[in-house]
Amino acid sequence: MSPQQRSPDRLPDRGASVPEYAGILALVAAVCASLFVLGVPGQTSDAVCRALHRMHLRDACAAGGGNGGRTDPDEPTTACTTGIETKYLEETVTIPTRINVRTNSRGTVQLTRRVGADGKTTWEVTDFTWGEGAAASPDFDFGFGKFGIWGGGQFTNGTVYSFDNEKDAKKFFDDLVDHRIGNTAKFVVRTNPITGGFSWLIGKTPWVGKYYDRWIGGSEPEKKPSADYQEGGPTGGFKGELNLWKVKLPFKGRGWLIDGTRTDHETGQRTTYFTRKGEGEVGVLVDLGDVWKALPKGTRERAAAGAADALALAVDEIGKRLAGKGVELSPAEIDKIKGQIRLNPNIGLNVKHRGQTTWAYTEDKDGDPISLTKTGNSQNVIYFRADGKAKGSLEGDKGELTAGKQWILSSQRTVTDKTLDYDDPQDRQAFEDYARTGDDGALDRYFDGGGGRMSRLTYDVGGDTGKLDAKGEAGGRSKFGGLFESSTEHQVNTLTGAQYYKPGEGWVPWKRCLG
């Protein structure tokens, strides 16, 4: 692992980074959302049996003889993502012109491991480029006509390659990383919204063209892609009209961003990802000093000595402060915090929470709807500070530190999928009601009552996500000529928990996914 220590959610001097999150999180949502509907009755039972065997629950199989080929109707039929490795390069170009042009490109190569409904594991390498073209101005009237720069908005392009074994997938992934991202300067020219167009053109000129393509990293691999992503186009002004007119909004903040559309070459299915504008990040600072003050005398000493009840009191109190900002801790996160308190009861914690909702709409090759999935993608990154004090900073919404070092204690992502099958009349009705009323609560009650299908996956997020993170830290970023900056990051998501929802029972282990 390279010594780059950055967390993915830095760039404190740049305001709106929701589109960046949208891009990254959409990738995770993409692999968990209803891309494939692979209901294969009969075969699932063998895979479940094998999984149960591995978990030493042989009796369950022997007794039922493989449960007679019955599949659980509440179990999701979608593929389950068990691991994601992402390498990405980001570059920002600021070109000072009369219309301030600041553009941003990201290149990502991602290796994803999934388990299908048939229990088989497949690997996918996704080659992704997206950018925020900030160069956008409406038409100015020059007297002889109106002209403007219309390259604005974000754009996404990606290609997906499938593999049935890990070795080939990993080699392809490594080769693609070297080829695409290896050289910052070349990457900048190829993908930047301003220069990217020219790069493409040079690639097309005879006898210089084909060598240029290979050199610049823009040529395509020989392998045929299994799917590709297309950028988000205009949003039809669906929200705009509600803003401009004095009308009652069905619900607030209905603006949708389009992260992109994925077309599966084999089936012709298309899945488009939409995220809601304006969802962001919450940061909460907790100083253990304040926590001990709120608890009975002596709790701190007992917690440091490992007393379970004292530790429980402490995390309870911490939980209250986080709940006030809408952040919840998982059992695994709580354990890590307890462990850290035992090492040093004077630590400070910085909890960053990012949550996003993505809708995935899938239609068949003829444009008829197949399914809709609402994906909740939330990530908690918990940092700890050994000195316990946030020097000179206040606890607030951003949870920023003005000085001092902190380390990542835990970084966990939870992806919750709620899928509506368009062929199911009840599911379809639930969706039409939601589209009309925007009532999230009603939709959730529909799922809780057994409608649709729900799954919940938890990942540990690691890689070079930054053991060190402090405001102003330049690590990993390079500047070239004052015009652009680049940074490289590496993130690994490993599945640590998988469940699906059975009405009447609650969340049950999703064995096919974990096995």
Binding site: P19, E132, A134, A136, S137, P138, D139, G145, K146, F147, G148, I149, W150, G151, G152, G153, Q154, F155, N157, G197, Q230, E231, G232, G233, P234, T235, G236, G237, F238, K239, G240, E241, L242, L244, W245, K246, V247, K248, P250, R254, G255, W256, L257, I258, T261, T263, R270, T272, F274, K277, W359, Y361, E363, G367, P369, L372, F431, E432, A435, R436
Partner: protein
């Protein structure tokens, strides 16, 4: 002087036949104004007001609003968006439009392939309802075009009109006036 009448006649013929050296868009209907840019032009009813805006991703948009009805709803609105060097295709764009229509409670009534000035295009129609501040529900009609030019400029041209307003009758003329220009 014999040549003159013939020249005049020829010129008159040329004008009548519209065979000028320039390929200008046809004049807009009576009572309409023209909005012309390097890439496209269209006509809109005089009295409607053009203004710029941005969409959710920060890209610029153009809206032309009709007069406000007592319910607070504008009697007609044209919405135009554009992406230069668009790397996607129209089928993907239509998938996105269908998804957005669903998420916003629109009921699509027509989606069909068409062409505009030689460029690939799709025409869409939808119905939906909006609720004003006083609780009035207004059924609305949406008619629009997506066009992808040879230079990969994507244009989105949408016209919204409320039931019970005067805009609905003008939608065909507005849509028919939308043209591509050389600078695309």
């Amino acid at each position: 002087m014999e040549a003159l009448p013939r020249l005049t006649a020829c010129a008159a013929l040329a004008l009548a036949a519209g065979c000028s050296a320039h390929h200008d868009p046809p004049p807009v209907p009576a009572g309409f104004r023209e909005y012309r840019t390097g890439a496209y032009a269209f006509g809109y009813p005089a009295g409607w007001t053009p203004h710029g805006g941005t969409d959710d991703s920060g890209a610029p948009t153009l809206d032309v609003d009709g007069p406000e009805l007592p319910s607070g709803v504008d009697d007609g609105q044209i919405h135009l968006a554009r992406r230069d060097r668009f790397t996607g295709g129209l089928d993907g764009q239509m998938a996105q439009f269908r998804g957005l229509a669903l998420l916003n409670g629109y009921h699509l009534t027509a989606v069909r392939r068409t062409a505009l000035d030689g460029a690939d295009a799709r025409r869409v129609e939808a119905r939906y309802t909006i609720t004003s501040t006083d609780g009035t529900r207004t059924p609305m009609h949406l008619t629009g075009l997506y066009v992808l030019t040879g230079r990969r400029t994507l244009l989105e041209f949408m016209i919204r009109s409320p039931d019970g307003g005067s805009a609905a009758a003008r939608v065909p003329a507005i849509l028919g006036s939308f043209r591509l220009r050389e600078g695309r």
